[in-house]
């Protein structure tokens, strides 16, 4: 574990500093919505924050890449066209975000900053401005849901990087791990609230982490084996066809996966006045892949499943992005109606090979 500064803060005191933050800038935190789902919302009064959630229905990615975002406006004035790029990046702190979603932010930042291509000169000014203005106070998970599998995906339940402050519930206190300069700045801003953590607090956190690891449910993703097979590129066509057949192309992955971030661009307006916007888009849709003039290299649903999984689970991407494209939040497990969510896909790829090798063995005998 890298050297981290450990502090602790009383539960009441944390609410006080959160209220201070909410007064000064935008505080984003989980709020209980109709139906009992928790969702990340801007919060003015910290009493609205809920602590009764394993994870939110949607990851908070819209605060970095909004579902719909105006990127520039244009207007004709006296026959002359004026175009302006709009960058909206309010100062924000997000509280209560889980480890998997923090890891999701780190992943998308690696892409949007241009680091993936070693082209930081092509960093996305909109995304990066919002990222630079965002402070992350994450809360480690002590009670994973049955659908969670972050342990298999290097996405939690505790993190070692990516957060500014990571909190662990020690009963009366929150243990705070300081992960960055932004985290240090919070500690320094409210010096009277934070006290140094003792060795036994740190010990307790480690014990808690060990305990959580035992609580994970039945959805492991055998990433190692699957990664290898996708990378070899020889998965039987029937596997994709079977997955494609069941996929109902809801595009839900784009809405709820913390690691999906494709978009499309539209112009709205006439030749005199209007704006250009970008909108979330999904590789599950047929139109996403259609080329000019009509041909479509990924017309079949099987091709689109294959494309999506290649992005998430191939060594080619791991090599470029530093990790594979699933953090094990389990959202697609909950939502997928075609039963082609990530652990299922991974399982089917693996079983196909198992059956294959059984067949081979049978032949030898």
């Amino acid at each position: 574990m890298p050297d981290l500064t450990y502090k602790k803060i009383g539960k009441e005191d944390l609410m006080k500093i959160l209220q201070e933050i909410a007064n000064e800038e935008e505080l984003i935190a989980p709020v209980e919505m109709f139906g009992g789902e928790a969702l990340f919302q801007p919060v003015k009064d910290v009493n609205d924050i809920t602590f009764n959630y394993v994870n939110t229905l949607f990851p908070p990615k819209q605060f970095l890449l909004p579902r719909f975002e105006k990127i520039l406006t244009y207007k004709k004035e006296d026959g002359k066209l004026k175009v302006e790029e709009i960058i909206e990046a309010p100062k924000r702190t997000i509280f209560g975000i889980r480890s998997c979603d923090v890891e999701g932010i780190r992943y998308s930042e690696f892409f949007y900053s241009g680091k993936m291509f070693q082209r930081e000169d092509l960093a996305d000014p909109h995304f990066m401005a919002r990222r630079n203005n965002l402070t992350i106070i994450s809360v480690a998970c002590l009670n994973p849901a049955p659908t969670c599998f972050c342990v298999c995906c290097d996405g939690g339940p505790f993190l070692e990087r990516g957060f500014d402050l990571q909190l662990t519930d020690l009963g009366e206190y929150w243990l705070c791990e300081v992960g960055s300069e932004k985290g240090t700045a919070i500690i320094e801003k409210f010096p009277s609230f934070f006290i140094d953590a003792e060795e036994k607090d740190i010990q307790k956190r480690k014990e808690l982490e060990d305990k959580v690891l035992e609580k994970f449910g039945p959805y492991p993703a055998f990433s190692g084996a699957t990664l290898r097979r996708i990378t070899e590129g020889n998965i039987p066509r029937e596997v994709w066809e079977s997955l494609g057949e069941r996929c109902i192309v809801c595009g839900g992955w784009q809405l709820l996966c913390p690691l999906c971030f494709c978009y499309t661009v539209v112009d709205i307006g006439d030749e005199n006045e209007g704006y250009r916007a970008r909108i979330w888009d999904s590789c599950h849709y047929e139109g996403y892949h259609r080329l000019a003039g009509g041909p479509n290299p990924r017309k079949g649903r099987d091709r689109r499943r294959e494309r999506c999984i290649f992005h998430k689970f191939s060594w080619q991407y791991v090599e470029r992005m530093g990790r594979h494209g699933c953090v094990g939040c389990g959202r697609c497990v909950i939502t997928c109606m075609g039963y082609v969510h990530m652990p299922q896909t991974v399982w089917e790829i693996r079983s196909a090979f198992r059956e294959e090798s059984y067949k081979k063995e049978a032949k030898v005998r």
Binding site: F117, Y263, G269, P297, F310
Partner: protein, 274 residues
């Protein structure tokens, strides 16, 4: 490109529109201050209210203006075709990688084009003609659907004067056509080259690139590494953000559009680059 200007197009006034073949016209645009590109790169061309499309730069880097040869093939390009000289377009770029060619000085060069695919090749062809003494033979093998669809016919004579050997073919001839009929790969039987010192540049419809590359390697014997093509994908951002242009793990807008044959063959294992 400055980072804060990543999505902000530079406004340019169309200097000239030259109709080429049916549904294709060449737009002459001034170069914005400080603009410089290399052969193979493209621009994102904006028509505000309609959208943005990637278009290859068809003029060589040392030419004073930018020439874009655009085919009317849909929503945005259709609207661009309705513009007049003096109207305003936005451009972002240059984007994408470039044709490797300096390493091939002293070699023979073979260009294989199909349809509008001649447009991106033209930039490199002219760049080589500006430095004609640095290259050996230059061949242009070009095919189109019909004689009327052959792009830049007004320039063939100038190409030939600069020592380009041109071979044309059409899918369907007309009563005046006396040349070759058939797909562009049928021209391969008619050329004699030394494959070990020849580099090939290919652009055209995906199916044509696929067969041309295969035959260049298997029939003519050019090393796969020296067979170079530009690919086309649907693009929304041009700068590696939107995800639309991806083939396996390669983003055509940043890692491409120019790829060598072994790279494309590798992508073929995981995806459909054609």
């Amino acid at each position: 490109m400055k980072q804060e200007l990543l999505f902000l197009p530079t406004l340019v006034t169309i200097k000239e529109i030259k109709p080429e073949i049916p549904a294709v016209a060449t737009f002459r645009l001034p170069k914005p201050d400080g603009f410089s590109h290399k052969a193979g790169q493209f621009l994102e061309v904006s028509l505000f209210g309609k959208g943005e499309v990637p278009i290859s730069i068809s003029s060589p880097p040392s030419y004073e203006d930018l020439l874009l040869t655009i085919r009317n093939s849909g929503y945005v390009t259709g609207a661009i075709h309705k513009l007049k000289e003096g109207d305003v377009l936005g451009i972002r770029g240059p984007l994408g990688n470039t044709f490797p060619y300096e390493e091939y000085e002293g070699w023979d060069v073979i260009f294989v084009g199909g349809g509008i695919g001649l447009a991106p090749l033209r930039s490199l062809l002219w760049e080589m003609l500006y430095h004609r003494d640095k290259f050996g033979r230059i061949l242009l093998l070009y095919g189109a659907r019909s004689p009327a669809d052959l792009l830049y016919p007004w320039q063939y004579e100038e190409f030939e004067r600069n020592g380009v050997e041109i071979l044309l073919t059409v899918d369907r001839g007309d009563e005046k056509w006396t040349g070759n009929v058939g797909v562009v790969t049928t021209l391969f039987d008619k050329v004699k080259i030394e494959p070990e010192r020849t580099v090939a540049y290919v652009c055209g419809p995906p199916i044509m690139i696929r067969f041309a590359m295969r035959d260049l390697v298997e029939k003519i014997g050019i090393a796969p590494h020296n067979c170079i093509a530009t690919l086309e994908r649907h693009m929304k951002c041009g700068v590696g953000k939107c995800g639309h242009c991806v083939i396996a793990e390669k983003y055509v807008c940043i890692d491409g559009p120019v790829f060598r044959y072994p790279e494309i063959k590798m992508l073929e294992r995981y995806d459909d680059p054609w």
